[in-house]
């Protein structure tokens, strides 16, 4: 573990204060947005998968993007990170217009993403995976690559930073293993650590906790909070409401390609549009425990009414 200790609780409190005056409504303006997206549309043939009017992401926040299956979260996410090829839309990241930029320009501008299905580079070792991601390497130019003296020093610095990150993610013992030999959870860790090698100001995580055991989920959550403590902005897609409410400062809910709600995590469960979207998709899987209780109460009331009506009938 690195000796840096992070005051992650303070980060949450600071963001709660910053976002206190933001209204809980889709497309709400934030006091200091780092990412602003306008009129994003992505169609597949006749199907409009994404149609998002406006979204702002507060600088330094952990923002969760949730929604039922098929809501268009990943498609929207891909569009924001240069992998989606949207039909319409304008979006800027920290003042840089990224609308027409190819995918590799995004990390250069300071925004890096991970993938739901991890993309560890199997036949490269863990440390090579890490070093690959470092920006502005002199030895990445063909002619300079021919003269090792030009890039060797920078390579050592990159390696040092990579080793520090591996230590922080408790991956240092796997340093020289091929990434292809890692387990699913280790790949998630590697991908997250590798993304940080890009020195990003914003990190986009596509379902970072999917298919990961509960213990590792906790450590991934800690790493995400550390990213915020380091001053980075995090936007992540997630299914598990417990996870979302435990770390996010702000929640954006998508359904049927649109953003239907935005709010602090504790308010999400009370939002009628969100409840409808989820219950419409999964009658049997309520959103939260409170939701479940409310649903049961409703059912109880209904039963009581029926009972009363029956009694009345019998009384006649």
């Amino acid at each position: 573990m690195s000796d840096t200790t992070y005051d992650t609780a303070a980060g949450a409190a600071r963001l709660a204060a910053e976002l206190a005056d933001v209204p809980s409504e889709p497309g709400a303006a934030k006091p200091d947005p780092i990412l602003v997206s306008d009129r994003m549309v992505r169609r597949f043939g006749g199907l409009t998968a994404v149609e998002v009017d406006h979204l702002e992401v507060q600088r330094g926040s952990i923002t969760a993007l949730i929604g039922p299956n098929g809501a268009g979260k990943t498609t929207f996410f891909n569009c924001l990170t240069g992998f989606g090829d949207p039909d319409e839309g304008e979006w800027t990241f920290d003042g840089t217009r990224l609308t027409t930029a190819p995918a590799h320009k995004f990390p250069q501008a300071g925004m890096v993403r991970t993938f739901q299905l991890t993309k560890a580079l199997s036949k490269l070792t863990v440390i090579e995976n890490m070093k690959l991601a470092a920006p502005d390497q002199r030895g990445e130019n063909f002619f300079r690559a021919l003269v090792p003296g030009i890039w060797r020093r920078q390579e050592r610095e990159v390696e040092e930073r990579a080793d520090q990150l591996l230590e922080r993610f408790k991956m240092d013992h796997m340093r020289n293993e091929f990434a292809g030999t890692l387990s699913g959870g280790q790949r998630k860790l590697l991908e997250m650590a590798r993304a940080l090698m890009c020195e990003p100001r914003m990190i986009m995580l596509d379902e970072p906790m999917a298919g990961v055991n509960p213990a590792l989920t906790q450590s991934l959550l800690e790493h995400i909070k550390e990213m915020r403590a380091d001053g980075a902005t995090v936007l992540f897609i997630e299914h598990d409401m417990d996870v979302v409410s435990s770390i996010s400062d702000w929640v954006v809910v998508m359904a049927e390609g649109r953003i239907i709600a935005e709010s602090p995590p504790e308010e999400v469960g009370q939002n009628q549009a969100v409840v409808d979207a989820y219950l419409g998709a999964h009658h049997d899987a309520p959103l939260t425990i409170e939701e479940e209780e409310a649903e049961l109460e409703e059912a109880d009331e209904l039963l009581e009414e029926i009972e009363e009506a029956r009694e009345e009938e019998q009384g006649r």
Binding site: F83, A103, P107, F178
Partner: protein, 329 residues
């Protein structure tokens, strides 16, 4: 039966000009296919462009051979750009289709009547390599190195040829240990991951195609100068596949794979050829099974069986790392 001469022939082939030519072509393929994962099935097209680059420059334009080398290299860069620009954004198989088609187009254009004045049609061109052999320091008629016999000119060609092979191998060795090489290897594994980390995968693939193609052109130089004539039909698709066979035999994505692969490939071809001929001429093999004229084809069958067995028992090639191969799942 003269087993001694069979071995002499085999060793001569193993260090001879053919091994040099295919080693050069295979080094280029190693960069493209082995390290970057690009399926260039038209390496012979680059070789043809190199060979005709010097032949046409000297015989038609009357320039010197050394200018011709520059022309050949420049032409291979242009060819790589032409093939890469439309296809490198697409899935890997499109490059394979386009390159194999382009290499055939180049051969057919070179042998067409229309360009007879430039390329000599199907007869090809000759008498352009004199300036190379003028520099030959070996004045003797015949040189012997153990079982290997070489004429003075061949020895000069082979010396320069293996020198270039060594230089290019060393260059690739340095490159593949650099951040540049790391990006190429990462592209082979997962292009999207590389893009998501801020590297312009398209441009790196283009560089790999260009540099591997220039190595193909150098193979064409060796081919044209060693044979002192270019004939279009020497530049058909089997050249590419022999080079691939050599590469995979030695081990793709290894430093010495393409070089040793080419040496062994030509050793085996010469060995089976000589052995079969000896057996046939000494009546060890009855005429009913195989005749002298069939030897040329049968040796390819035997070498083919050998390659199949290699893929079964040592799929990573001679130098490859089995552990690495197992990662493909």
């Amino acid at each position: 039966m003269d087993l001694r001469s069979v071995l002499d022939n085999s060793f001569s082939a193993a260090v001879g000009v053919d091994a040099v030519i295919y080693a050069l072509a295979a080094i280029g393929l190693n960069l493209q296919f082995g390290y970057t994962g690009l399926l260039n099935f038209g390496q012979v097209g680059f070789a043809a462009v190199g060979a005709y680059g010097i032949a046409v420059s000297v015989t038609y334009f009357g320039w010197s051979l050394w200018v011709g080398l520059g022309v050949g290299l420049a032409a291979s860069v242009v060819l790589a750009l032409l093939l890469g620009l439309p296809t490198l954004r697409l899935r890997a198989d499109y490059l394979a289709i386009v390159t194999i088609a382009a290499s055939e187009i180049i051969r057919l254009v070179a042998r067409s009547v229309t360009f007879n004045d430039y390329t000599g049609g199907s007869a090809g061109l000759s008498a352009y390599a004199d300036s190379f052999y003028d520099l030959n320091p070996y004045s003797g008629a015949r040189y012997s190195f153990g079982p290997v016999q070489l004429s003075g000119n061949d020895l000069w060609m082979v010396t320069v040829g293996w020198g270039v092979v060594l230089a290019l191998t060393l260059m690739l060795w340095v490159l593949m240990r650099s951040p540049w090489g790391r990006v190429l290897k990462a592209i082979r594994e997962d292009e999207d991951a590389v893009r998501s980390l801020g590297k312009n995968a398209y441009w790196y693939k283009m560089q790999s195609l260009i540099i591997g193609g220039m190595m193909g052109a150098v193979a064409g130089f060796a081919f044209a100068i060693a044979k002192t004539s270019v004939q279009p039909d020497n530049y058909s698709t089997d050249f590419t596949f022999f080079a691939y066979a050599a590469l995979i035999l030695g081990g793709a994505a290894t430093t010495w794979g393409p070089v040793v692969g080419s040496i062994i490939f030509w050793f085996l071809l010469a060995f089976t050829d000589s052995l079969l001929r000896q057996l046939v001429s000494n009546d060890k093999l009855p005429e009913a099974i195989i005749s002298g004229t069939q030897v040329g084809q049968v040796r390819f069958m035997l070498v083919g069986i050998g390659l199949v067995l290699l893929m079964v028992f040592r799929p990573q090639g001679i130098f490859g790392n089995k552990r690495e191969l197992a990662l493909d799942e």
